[in-house]
Amino acid sequence: MALKTKDLLKLEKPGRYTGGEVNTVQKEITADLTRFAFCFPDVYEIGMSHLGLQLLYFFINRREDVFCERAFMPWQDMVDLLRREGEPLFALESGDSLREFDFLGFTLQYEMSYTNVLAMLDLAGIPLRACERGDDFPIICAGGPCATNPEPMADFVDFFYIGDGEASLDEIFDIYKTRTNKQDFLRKICNIQGVYVPSLYKASYNADGTLRDFAAAPLAFSATSHAEPHNVTRIDTPTAPATVKRAFLPSLDFFPEKLIVPLVESTHARAVVEIVRGCKRGCRFCQAGFIYRPIRERSTCQILEHAEKILTATGYEELSLLALSACDYSHFSELVDGLLEICRRKRVTISLPSTRLDALDIVSKIKTLRTSSLTVAPEAGSQRLRDLINKNLTEEEILGGCLKAFRAGFDKLKLYFMSGLPNETPEDSFAVAELSEKIVEEYYQLTYEERKRPVSIGVSVSCFVPKPFTPFQWAAQTTPEEFSRVQREVKASVRKKQISYRYHDSKTAQIEGVLARGDRRLSAVIEAAYKNGAMFDGWTEHFNYALWLGAFEAVGLEPAFYAHRERGTDEKLPWDFIDVGVGRGLLVREWERANA
């Protein structure tokens, strides 16, 4: 990096770009060192709050022969500065251009970061499309939850990594050292569990636009076969596997001893410990609930030991737990007691991610909660719809839980709902407002003395986006117009002033839905959107719907085909070739039950 201090100081938060944080790794850069850049396609603060990044950073760096560095999407002001100065995007540890690396590993946490992936490649001077990159460019790989339907990004990525990072990365690095060239490497790794090399597959489509066929293309013979016909050397595999199985780690053994401590305030400045991967609940809308199955817990004593180590190594004054549903941890009460003891000793506060109402008794042990606000996610307003999405929460439980929360001193509740769920009726939509009003009434069950402050209920309604590998993967997503029309009406029906009712932008949700369930033809749309200027699409103030519509038009594809069309269970889906460990039969059964 050769930017001037003066120019850096003109940026908003220059500390995002200068590295030098505590616990970062430095290695001597030698010719035989494999250089890997973990690329997070969003700003530094968001990336650094992501435990997965830290976990893989230390996991990869435990190997002496590989050096894992970090790179983030620069904010607009830095994008401008890099372009003005003609400087490439760089990794924070060495300051070297991403172009110099052997691997760039992108994490795809949300679909709306796809244009940022392209922006980062572009800023590093790397051609966007895999087919335009020769051997002297880094190998671009991508993982994370969105890699379970990798197809929309297929044209840009050399290989996807699906599943637990700790499971197969070592094998990939070992093979890399024996490669002759990039093609050779990709062919060698395409049989490793969790690896998907999109260039080795071909897709064809029916006249109605649906997928006709998706299969591995036969691999060519290696060059020696022509020279020595009697001594034919086939490369190891004649074709790439028809099914790509996700990489799976049966037990979570690797714990990073440290975490990198950002110098500039990150979204969550706190030590985080993963306690469990996966969730046993099976809500039908929830992709995480399906793709991380089966649930894997770390042992309580391992977690406690680790929490203490991490706190010592970081100096954080807050500890948090990472889990999809922390309160479902088998020995949750025991764990909280142990953690509270450590926190008392180290004078650290503890916070929990999402809180389930049924675990409120345990949660209220944590008297150190910084705020008097509590987040609850009933997801749907009516009992009928909650049952339909398999959210096992009755109205009594919700109201009773809220009352308990009010008694415990919480006077701000945040309620999360979705609308546009499959088979949602107008009554279901309005039930969100009704349930919220009932919750307000619960508050007035308290005596006058107990009501210290006026209660405030923040209702937030998002537009449901069907995701691959869920029972709702066949469902039609509601259109932006329909969502807004319904939400305007529901909002108008709210009478109580204690409720603030907000609903999300459903245009973003439409594009997200398209990318979530798209096929590889969408690579062209993503590229066109990026070239039109789309970037930071996940940021409300940056999202530009018109750019996307223009991109669809230019490529000749319809958002509605991907987002608002119900699929038959006999349709071939673009992600069907991936086996995430959940049987298709189960998804079909669950989908049918939701439609019964």
């Binding site: 201090t5 003066k6 850096l8 100081l9 220059p14 500390g15 770009y17 200068t18 590295g19 030098g20 944080e21 505590v22 401590v261 110098l263 500039v264 305030e265 400045a269 010592t312 190594a313 970081t314 100096g315 954080y316 004054e317 180290k346 004078r347 506060t349 008297k367 150190t368 910084r370």
Partner: protein, 262 residues
């Protein structure tokens, strides 16, 4: 036991602002596992108070913060543990008992302004230095809460001297009177005459940047009105309990040059 730490903030740490630095320092103390005192309440915070916040972009030479330890430790131990836990760019030079409150006693600060960015021969710099010192009044437009106001800053320039390619400035600093080093830096114009008199810094077009300035020392007023570095005890006693001055090479042009002012 209240302890005064003398440290410097350089390198990448110049890119983080005061609030971030406060957190970084607290985390360093926690990692160093010093028996530091915390605030009371549900969310205990480690107690630390800085002598004078440093602007984003500026490096510091001898900077100060006070902490409270719940039991005694040797100064050398404190310094070693902190340095082992500190991020790159934070070096702790010494620790000694704090006999006053760093945050409320500061009255002056030394700054080194790098004038090489102006691309002038040093004779011109010297003439500006001389002109400033000769002037009875230097009026600049100072931004205040109520808007822009013409202010005479001459009285807050306590010393000025060229040292090689740098200009050493001693200026009023602290809660009572404060003169921004950028205001004085702005007096050095590109053509080598004093850019002055109601000219705001941005108007004269040269704007040396905060990163051209290093704050090298902080002073308080001793019993006889003399300026003493925050590490020195009033009444002539030398730096009691101060540990070895490790890392002093990082403090380019600090205390050794302070004697230069008449």
């Amino acid at each position: 036991m209240r302890i005064r730490l003398c440290f410097s903030k350089t390198a990448t740490l110049r890119f983080i602002g005061h609030l971030d630095f406060l957190r970084v320092f607290q985390q360093t103390i926690r990692r160093a596992d010093l028996p530091a005192a915390f605030s009371q309440g549900f969310n205990p915070h480690l107690l630390i108070s800085f002598a004078l916040p440093l602007p984003l972009g500026m490096e510091s030479g001898n900077d100060y913060a006070d902490i409270t330890l719940e039991h005694d430790m040797s100064a050398a131990d404190i310094v070693d543990k902190l340095n082992a836990a500190a991020p790159r760019g934070l070096i702790v030079h010494s620790a000694c008992p704090a006999w006053n409150k760093a945050a409320s006693v500061v009255t002056a600060a030394d700054y080194l302004l790098d004038v090489s960015c102006l691309d002038l021969d040093m004779g011109k710099i010297d003439s500006v230095v001389a002109e400033i010192k000769r002037s009875e009044a230097i009026i600049i437009a100072k931004k205040t809460k109520k808007g822009v106001k013409d202010t005479n800053i001459r009285g807050d320039i306590l010393g000025l001297e060229r040292v090689g390619e740098k200009v050493l400035m001693r200026l009023s600093a602290g809660s009572a009177r404060f003169l921004s080093p950028l205001s004085v830096a702005g007096l050095f114009s590109r053509n080598g005459v004093m850019a002055c008199v109601s000219d705001s810094i941005s108007q004269n077009g040269i704007t040396p940047c905060v990163s051209d300035i290093m704050r090298t020392e902080l002073y308080y007023e001793g019993e006889n009105g003399e300026l003493l570095p925050l590490s020195a005890q009033s009444g002539g006693a030398s730096q009691s309990g101060s540990s070895s001055q490790n890392g002093s090479s990082a403090q380019s042009g600090s205390s050794s040059q302070n004697g230069g002012f008449a």
